[in-house]
Amino acid sequence: MDSIAESQRTLYPYVTGSSVVAIKYKDGILMASDMGGSYGSTLRYKSVERVKPIGKHSLIGASGEISDFQEIQRYLDELILTDNMWDDGNSLGPKEVHNYLTRVMYNRRNKFNPLWNSLVLGGVKNGQKYLGTVNMIGINYEDDHIATGLGNHLARPILRDEWHENLSFEEGVKLLEKCMRVLLYRDRSAVNKIQIAKMTEEGATMFPPFSLKTYWEFSAFKNPTVGAEGSW
């Protein structure tokens, strides 16, 4: 802890991204996040790309401190560059990138200078689909569907019920939209500008941002305090 000047350790995040949700589907991986960068409770930046392709086989999604995500992107650029420079037909797949990131995150945590992110790493290589996550304290695991932050509490129960092997692309997108809609309603740091990305054996596709349709006419919201304890 004393090898770095105290003022240079990460103590708290400043500009943060909210949840990322990702699933495996028939042809590969689908990953979604909104494009918001919050500055505390202010929804300050509205066009932050929080899902990026990495190399030929992987997608990375990040929540948490945006500047740390940018730093991670630089690490990964260097990693992929070195990998390409070998020029030998071998390439790092999503599993390798995930493990590399796990080592980085855990090592930073041990130095008490974490990268304040929860990352989702997904991809396809040689027909094998891979989806995993690693967070700022180095916890990492793989699963068929992954979410970060509030997504763990709001999106994953939906996914546990409705995810199945061999979802088609349309079914997958609908499922992700359902999760993102719940997050939009219930997560105060969510913004209504969603980015979905797809990764298959052929490569990555980043879809253009779109907004979700929302409905605010539920009668229960019209007079929210009717019938509440102590209200009149």
Partner: protein, 284 residues
């Protein structure tokens, strides 16, 4: 090669553009006992001739497992070979720790070659005096590489290094076109035959050679003496009888009785000879 005034330092060029110290290091490889490698699409086999200093001592270890998917056979200064094997093991395990994935052979070989090159360009170092046959598997299939003391490396379908390796190479040159499609057993057989060529007259026994295999679904491992002896018996007998492809067990049983002479020399075959004789009329 004769002594000359340009061969003292590795950092001195000769007027003809040669680095004599590097060439002398390659000579050291030729002094070591033979090491042979061959590969098919899915397997790589390494074989080497074991020379012991005297009957009292043990053989030098010339084949090293580097990782589950990579192994190396060396010829030349075995001490240098051991050190390089340790480096290779270290690289493999570090890569595996970071990426949870096996290090591609091609990359290991380049790292090894770059390490060797450093020793050809420092006045306070000397080149490694060992040639390495690196056998390994990666995503693109089975590979066999040869790393020189000069820092060069080449990929081969089959190769032999060390003393009397030319005999083995000649045999391999005749047969290599079939190797890609070879089965594991045929590949091992060819390795044993090539080893026998290097022995030039001396009897091929499992005590003078070591065989190692790596393949798809088969981690790198050295075959134990008994297995090797059985394999030798299988094809040795076939060769002496000059019969067409014999099924291993049937041929061995049939011929153990008639070939007592060769059976006696081979330690491992003693088992075979005794067990199924029972009331054999050939027991004289």
């Amino acid at each position: 090669m004769f002594r000359n005034q340009y061969d003292t330092d590795v950092t001195t060029w000769s007027p003809a553009g040669r680095l004599f110290q590097v060439e002398y290091a390659m000579e050291a490889v030729k002094q070591g006992s033979a090491a042979i490698g061959l590969r098919s699409k899915t397997h790589v086999v390494l074989a080497c001739v074991n020379k012991a200093n005297s009957e009292l001592s043990s053989h030098q270890k010339k084949i090293f497992k580097v990782d589950d998917h990579i192994g190396v056979a060396i010829a030349g200064l075995t001490a240098d070979g051991r050190v390089l094997s340790r480096y290779m093991r270290s690289e493999c395990i570090n890569y595996n720790y970071t990426y949870e994935s096996p290090l591609p052979v091609g990359r290991l070989v380049v790292q090894l070659a770059d390490k060797a090159q450093v020793c050809t360009q420092r006045s306070w170092k000397r080149p490694y005096g060992v040639g390495l046959l690196v056998a390994g598997l990666d995503e693109s299939g089975a590979h066999l590489y040869y790393n020189c003391p000069s820092g060069n490396y080449f990929e081969y379908q089959a190769f032999a290094i060390g003393s009397r390796s030319q005999a083995a190479k000649t045999y391999l040159e005749r047969k290599f076109n079939n190797f890609t499609a070879s089965s594991r057993e045929d590949l091992i057989k060819d390795a044993l035959i090539a080893t026998r060529e290097s022995l030039q007259g001396e009897k091929l026994r499992s005590s003078v050679c070591t065989i190692a295999v790596v393949g798809v679904g088969e981690p790198f491992h050295i075959l134990d003496q008994e297995t090797v002896q059985q394999l030798i018996d299988t094809f040795e007998i076939v060769r002496e009888e000059e019969t067409a492809p014999a099924e291993p067990e049937a041929a061995a049983e049939q011929d153990a009785a008639t070939d007592q002479a060769s059976g006696a020399d081979q330690g491992g075959a003693g088992n075979q000879g005794g067990a199924d004789q029972g009331g054999s009329p050939m027991d004289i």
